[in-house]
Amino acid sequence: MDELIKNLKKEIIEALNLEDVKAEDIDTEAPLFNEGLGLDSIDALELIVLIEKKHGIKIQSADEGKQILYSVKTIAEFIIKNKK
């Protein structure tokens, strides 16, 4: 789980062009949207692509995505639960 979370943070930084943000700076349990990193709707959609591309899991709707993308932790839990 720790390894996954560490890599996930790096993937997020790269996919979302978060310049000057280091993996260590991202709080695993903090909300990604509205506070924390302050990501927006396009970032959410890009994270959905990231999860499909790097982890092979397809999120079907933006609503489904909302719950999963709450924090790095919830994303990691989702990936572990759904990975084939």
Partner: protein, 382 residues
């Protein structure tokens, strides 16, 4: 200041190749949106409106037997030809301007497997516009407007302002966009497409349908004998809020409609004016429009959304929908908002639900697009 008259037009869409074919379909509440199964456009079937390629080829062959035009260019050439057949003034002179409104033009050329005989530089919008200009022997360099989904309304506003200033006598506006894997993929990545025929302003709306279409409008400083519609006023604004989501307070659209109404110097009310909405049927767009209408206190004006017939035709939308609005003013009929069943925005709005005999003097046409842009044009029957 010169008056600007709408003297001829044409619509090409899945509903037909003439304005009257399209208007007939709208009056009969017939949608041009269907389930499209085409691997060259999308891996999965999707709802969209598509122009009949066979008929397009037949229509184009009446004009030229050259194989060196793309589908996008053929659609524009056929549409402009049909509109030009309805006027009798010289248009190859310096006092006529050609404006092309498109978001992506020949974007399918970015795929090397597509149209191998067409030079890749036709992906440049100005190059494609030049090809169309050369076909008709227009005098002036074409103007290309590419402002996302408001391009069509911007073209009408821009063309009208140029005639008002006396810089041109006539302006030929052609708005067009074709379906492409490029655009479909993009909207799919936005999760913006509805898995059914779209439902503008409806409670259960869940996204837009894309559409293929072309609209041509010819503007002139000289009126027709009768049944004249003029450009009354217009405005273009920006939300200054977000590049893909509309302002939650509808700031840009509010400013645009407000400005246009002030500029029109007319008294508009629910008995003499209707609204031709943008109505893409995404949760956010339609809500934003309703908020704008309420802020200006025009939300009780009869409101028509046509994307249930055409889908969202992007660069063509503003032109096609304006042609329908102008037709409404001329024929004293308001069209219905296909797909709307149950009120679904937070503001009361007056959505027209069946083709209705109604005399109106004015129409407010609105559009909003990516980049936070908004545009309004007001048309008047005189």
């Amino acid at each position: 200041m010169e008056k600007v008259y709408f003297v001829a037009d044409n619509i090409i869409s899945s509903l037909g190749f003439t304005t009257s074919e399209n208007i007939d379909a709208i009056e009969n509440r017939k949608s041009g949106i269907n389930l499209i199964c085409d691997n060259s456009l999308s891996q999965h079937p999707f709802f969209a409106s598509k122009i009949n390629n066979n008929i397009l080829e037949k229509e184009f062959l009446k004009l030229s037997d050259s194989i060196s035009y793309t589908k996008f260019e053929k659609v524009c050439i056929v549409s402009i030809s049909k509109a030009l057949n309805k006027i009798n003034f010289a248009y190859k002179t310096s006092d006529t301007l050609f404006i092309l409104s498109t978001t992506k033009g020949n974007i399918d050329l970015l795929n090397p497997l597509c149209c191998p005989t067409i030079p890749r530089d036709r992906a440049f919008l100005w190059k494609s516009a030049e090809i169309i200009k050369e076909y008709f022997h227009f005098y002036n360099s074409p103007v290309v407007i590419s402002n996302a989904c408001i391009s069509g309304v911007v073209a009408i506003v821009t063309g009208s302002r140029l005639i008002e200033q006396g810089l041109y006598k006539n302006v030929i506006i052609c708005g067009a966009d074709i379906l492409s894997e490029f655009v479909i993929s993009g909207f799919q990545s936005f999760m913006a497409l509805s898995p059914q025929i779209c439902k503008p302003f409806d409670l259960n709306r869940n996204g837009l349908n894309l559409g293929e279409g072309c609209g041509t409008i010819i503007l002139s400083n000289k009126p027709k004998k009768e049944n004249n519609i003029i450009y009354c006023a217009g405005a273009i604004t920006n939300d200054a809020n977000h590049i893909s989501g509309p302002s939650r307070t509808a700031e840009g659209l509010f400013l645009a409609i407000n400005k246009a109404i002030k500029q029109s110097n007319t008294s508009l009310n629910e008995n003499n004016c209707f609204i031709s909405a943008h109505g893409t049927a995404t949760p956010y767009n339609d809500e934003m429009e309703a908020i704008a209408f309420e802020r200006i206190k025009i939300n009780n004006f009869p409101t028509v959304g046509l994307k249930g017939y055409f889908g969202h035709t992007l660069g063509a939308a503003g032109v096609i929908e304006s042609i329908a609005a102008i037709n409404s003013l001329k024929s004293n009929k308001i069209h219905s908002t296909l797909g709307f069943e149950e009120h679904g925005v937070s503001i009361p709005v007056n959505i027209v639900t069946k083709t209705t005999k109604k005399e109106n003097e004015f129409c407010i046409k609105v559009a909003s697009g990516f980049g936070g842009c908004n545009a309004t044009a007001i048309f008047q029957k005189i």
